[in-house]
Subunit: 447 residues, 2 copies
């Protein structure tokens, strides 16, 4: 591959007509070749788009700062020691690298030149004919970036390993702590959430304390650990029906989680959090709220929405730039009810498929596909071992059956045979024994 792409004219055609991707004649320094599609980000949206373009007559370049695709919906299980990092991560090269038309680049994007059609990396530029921006989201602290040190978020594998270390170390430190007050502080866990991750995280920490670790300590009783779930909203899992929200709350409370609705964390430091004016002494705070999009809006020079997302039209492209698709958590596209679509893996995957279809249609000078529409199939959330909530096709399920459904859906979604088998084994083992496999504190920082 050369770093110099031929200037290709991408014409924006009237609705319903084929848009034509027409490579210009070869310029010096770059051999004539198929148009180049550059995909930024190998999350659900980017990876789906790249896979769907596998056999297309394009040169495909996938750029990601990490070497692995991450199955984010199960990240909280790594953070609570139920799964190993490798269970939910897959090398991008192993998924895409063997295709002849696909190049995988490990690199950090620092800018996009929309006019010259180039993606800027620290040491090189990559020219594109079509650009797919799917760089996901990271956690945001509403402008209070200094909170990050005390309340790690949960987006990357490193975050999960860090949270696992903090949670497990809290029990270890409590075991050797000298004062009762300090012990109580160390055994208080606060999860700040505004979605399924907060619910799942709080449930998983409670189970870790009350089941997996229950009998492993001598001076402390991990079952006495206090787990708080703080939610700004007035009910849990706002995407679900109110009845499901009530069930989720009851299930968490049965696990011993204190659910604080309509409350906000106003300050925190290493001593604990301020919660509606009251100081709660806590050694571990997990941030499962405030997701913001990547810097894509800045790169593209457009005004983002309140959550940092890039507004796109119903064809998922940037206004005025039909060769730039923005997908997944990076983009804001209105759903059928006019509200932005939720940040969910199925949405991202559908968008990746749609973009690939549109690119193929343009390549073949066919009619562009119909505007993107997302039909929400249902909601799934799990609350500890053997309990889940499912809302599918008008049905509301709860309990063990919903949990099996949840497990089946997640295993089916995971890419790669090995991961499925290992995951299944880890889960069966955990279910049979109530133990955790991945109780590992790995880090230089023991202090």
């Amino acid at each position: 591959m050369s770093d110099h792409a031929a200037p290709v004219h991408v014409e924006s055609a009237p609705e319903g007509c084929a848009r034509v991707l027409r490579p210009a004649p070869a310029v010096p320094g770059r051999p004539a070749g198929p148009p180049r599609v550059v995909v930024l980000g190998a999350g659900f949206a980017g990876l789906t788009a790249a896979r769907a373009l596998g056999g297309a007559p394009v040169e495909l370049v996938v750029v990601d700062p990490r070497d692995h695709h991450l199955f984010q919906p199960l990240l909280y299980q790594v953070a609570t020691a139920a799964l190993s990092p490798a269970d939910i991560a897959m090398p991008i090269r192993a998924i895409l690298g063997r295709r002849r038309n696909t190049e995988v680049v490990l690199g950090e994007v620092i800018g996009i030149d929309k006019v010259r059609r180039r993606v800027r990396l620290p040491e090189r530029e990559i020219a594109y004919d079509v650009l797919v921006v799917a760089t996901g989201a990271h956690h945001a602290y509403f402008g209070r970036d200094e909170w990050a040190e005390h309340a790690p978020g949960l987006k990357r594998l490193e975050d999960a390993i860090d949270i696992r270390r903090r949670v497990l170390l809290a029990f270890e430190r409590a075991e050797t702590a000298t004062g009762e007050e300090e012990r109580r502080r160390l055994l208080t866990f606060v999860v700040v959430g505004d979605g399924p991750t907060g619910v799942e995280m709080a449930g998983a920490i409670a189970e870790l304390a009350k089941v997996a670790l229950a009998r492993d300590f001598h001076r402390i009783d991990p079952r006495g650990a206090r787990v708080l779930l703080v939610e700004g909203g007035l009910r849990l899992l706002a995407a679900f029906a109110p009845e499901s929200s009530a069930r989720a709350k009851a299930a968490l409370e049965a696990l011993g989680v204190e659910v604080r609705l309509g409350e906000m964390v106003t300050a925190f430091d290493s001593a604990g959090v301020a919660l509606g004016g009251v100081q709660v002494s806590s050694g571990t705070v997990v941030w499962a709220a405030g997701v913001a999009a990547s810097p894509a809006a800045r790169w593209l020079g457009v005004e983002p929405d309140l959550l940092g997302r890039v507004p796109v039209g119903p064809d998922l492209t940037l206004r005025g730039y039909p060769e730039i698709f923005v997908l997944g958590n990076t983009s804001a596209v209105a759903g059928p009810d006019g509200r932005a679509l939720p940040s969910l893996a199925p949405v991202a995957k559908r968008q990746g498929e749609h973009a690939a279809r549109a690119i193929r249609a343009a390549l073949e000078s066919r009619r562009a596909p119909k505007p993107f529409r997302y039909r929400h199939a249902g909601n799934l959330a799990t609350i500890g071992r053997g309990r889940a909530l499912a809302e599918i096709a008008g049905l509301r399920l709860y309990g063990r059956f919903a949990w099996f459904l949840w497990g089946a859906v997640h295993i089916a979604f995971l890419i790669g045979f090995r991961n499925r088998a290992a995951l299944l084994l880890d889960w069966l083992w955990a279910y049979a024994t109530s133990r955790r496999n991945a109780r590992l504190i790995t880090s230089e920082r023991m202090g």
Copy 2:
């Protein structure tokens, strides 16, 4: 548990007579109780001793700076992305913590007071009646500690994750490197070894390059990677028969490894290594040589041997301190041929069993067990997929059968059912597909 142990008189009896552990009357500040055995280190020696004392009428305290027991013989498989960290590590609490007489303390030992019988940790002291020192070994750079930055060793889980990151990043960087010379440097791997770990590491890197990664890159051909194994000795695997050494060398060379015998690395930095006066340009150096014992000799105030080990008598105790056992890689005990016993897991385990037997005998005022003797059962080493060397009961085996034997022995030795099943699954999968499961670069440091 209290931190104050009663002074207990440990009398050294003439050979063949029972040594008596006789608790003194209770002193203020400590309730009278069973004698306290403190075990430092939960490696093979310490863990075996602790397990064997499970039902004994003692108060047992196990101190380790890590929360997990590590199955070190397979650490190189984590470093080369074949196994996940959790496959070969097990929380010490999960192994020992549920016993009523056993307390597990996560902590770093900073000193031992032989007279007052106390182990010093940064924030507390733990009194002992009997002390078992089994703090293992770490890699040493023959006084050139500045080499550590460029040539990580392989002793802890973090080391393996770090090496995995370096090796995988080397291929990623080579893929995007601009000059041919730089690419060659990045694709040259040097393993400095003086034992089985070096042989296994070199073989595993060669296989990673030539099989698992072979088709995942576009600009580089990983099969062209150069892997050097540098050994100071004149043959590989000195513990094996010369014929086996020759077979190991041939097998490595068949994998494309350049074996350099009788050579020494005299200098290295980020550009490469100096090898017998010749500069070899290399991006990744792995240190599998120069193991030195822990600071136990300093703590105990005794003169160590050349490898930093504490000399002990045939009863595995420190001369003049029959209540202090020193085991495993931390100690130097003469084998039947007068030479120090090798640094192997079976040696450490036998010593742990012996110490536990001696402690039980003293508790019950029985005759002390016979002096420690180690009968070496055999040698095993593996060289890549499906090939191994075994020397057992005078038989020399080589090839696929030896490899299955090697796998069976290692799985049988692993503690905990889950690990065995997961390991088996990982291996079967890797064997069936020649892929690697754990190709993950996890670290903040991408640069």
